[in-house]
Symmetry: C2
Subunit: 258 residues, 2 copies
DNA sequence: ATCTATTTGTACGTATGTATT
DNA sequence: AAATACATACGTACAAATAGA
């Protein structure tokens, strides 16, 4: 399950359970084990590695934390190889960026480069099911919000539009990165309260983009879709940047007290 | 340390140590603990959570596996908050894509969209140190390789050129994604033996691109740098695609036996 | 529905390693 | 060099969960 991720050597010194976890990983790969396959039970691992129960268990927890195995109790239970879920992968990567203080600009520099390409490659390849799903999604935020909570929800929904598109790409890498960015923005939106459009005009323009985008996708107009998305990203960027500035005017940024 | 990564609710049911790990995470965040800060010792955690040593230890291993803490023995030892390293993040994300069977096309669709933007934003902002580092890197593969092993090394080195560039971006997201793709390609190169250029002409053209790119970066010519990188990516794409086809002609793909 | 076998999960007590003072 | 403070490892006993008879 681990692709022998390049040089895992410079990683200083691993704890014993971590070593065991690595050994199990390579063993699993060497055995060509696949998604649902069962690993040896605790007892057998204890014997095979000549180590104590606790140590083995800690090793299994490491693999579990990485999303590589699932464990069940009972007869026929044990640990099973598990394909790392997208959800898990996003969470793990999120931990990395938690320390990085990403800005709106960072995220949008990426989005403006990627999303237009995404929709260009999608044009004409979407099922009617998905297309109407997109339209249904747009409908969610077509009426003005009544409450602040509804407003927040609408903002998150309008981001979901992009997650739906990302999900349709046959390119797992592109798909993941876009989906991840949508998550980042959702978190930012909720956490930093970046909703309540300061510029209604831009917000409505963004919605219009989405409507026109779906039309272009349905028509198989790749260049049109790309152009619309490019515009859309620019609009959203401006909108969010306005938000960020607005925030700074309202609150003194809460830095660490000590 | 965890940004309360959106809804972690749909994740079915967590094992007890995983629950504890989550609780500790949120506690750490609520306490505003930073990079080197010390967590409570084993004994104290055992008391605070009213759980056995093993359970606590497994929880710590989970956090360690995610790269969020480091543990040291000895007096003054214990567990400490640790900023997730880029290396670790790449490895964890690599596990996700291990199951996904990425193609050369998938990766290059991304690279062609991102790397030109990267160099455009870098033009004129690189120190002379970095610029000569880039030139030194190019020198590594400017002489024809003598052995097959040298050839492989040159291929990996030529990828490192991009990692150096990625490292210079102030955009942590862009930087990470490009670096990650470089890793993917390095792994692919080594694992699938995608070196030994089938097309010397293209290989040399790629090297020429890099030389001209450094010049443009030094001159602060953003548009020029972008254009060169775009060309470069197209060239590399073609080169690698040729490689992939060559591979398939030589080996029957080894699928799982049964 | 109950029992039984299987397999992981929890609990503790003890001993060993390791780094700081 | 010795004492100290901490994590690490081991082994056993028992508890909980689940599948199947």
């Amino acid at each position: 399950m681990p692709p022998a991720t390049t040089p895992s050597s410079p990683e200083v010194k691993l704890s014993r359970p971590a070593q065991v976890a690595e050994e199990i990983k390579t063993w699993v790969v060497s055995q060509r084990l696949r998604d649902g396959d069962r690993l040896p039970g605790e007892a057998e691992l204890i014997e095979r590695f000549g180590m104590a129960k606790g140590t083995i268990r800690e090793a299994m927890r490491i693999l579990e934390a990485q999303g590589l195995i699932r464990t069940r109790t009972g007869p026929g239970g044990g640990s099973f190889v598990h394909e790392v879920s997208r959800q898990r992968a996003k969470a793990l990567l999120g931990n990395y960026f938690y320390f990085k203080n990403l800005t709106i600009d960072d995220i949008y520099q990426m989005r403006v480069a990627l999303e237009p390409e995404l929709v260009a490659s999608l044009a004409g390849n979407l099922s009617e099911t998905v297309l109407s799903q997109l339209e249904a999604n747009i409908a969610e935020y077509s009426r003005p919000a009544r409450t602040l909570d509804e407003e927040r929800q609408q903002h998150v929904d309008s981001l979901r539009f992009h997650a739906i598109l990302a999900d349709q790409s046959g390119n797992a890498l592109l798909s993941f990165v876009i989906d991840f960015m949508v998550n980042l923005l959702s978190d930012l939106t909720v956490y930093r309260k970046l909703y309540s459009p300061p510029n209604i005009e831009l917000w409505e323009k963004g919605r219009d983009h989405q409507v026109r985008l779906v039309a272009a996708l349905r028509d198989g107009d790749a260049d049109g879709a790309r152009a619309i998305m490019r515009d859309h990203m620019q609009t959203a960027w401006t909108l969010m940047r306005g938000q960020e500035a607005e925030m700074l005017r309202q609150f003194i940024p809460e830095r660490r007290s000590g």
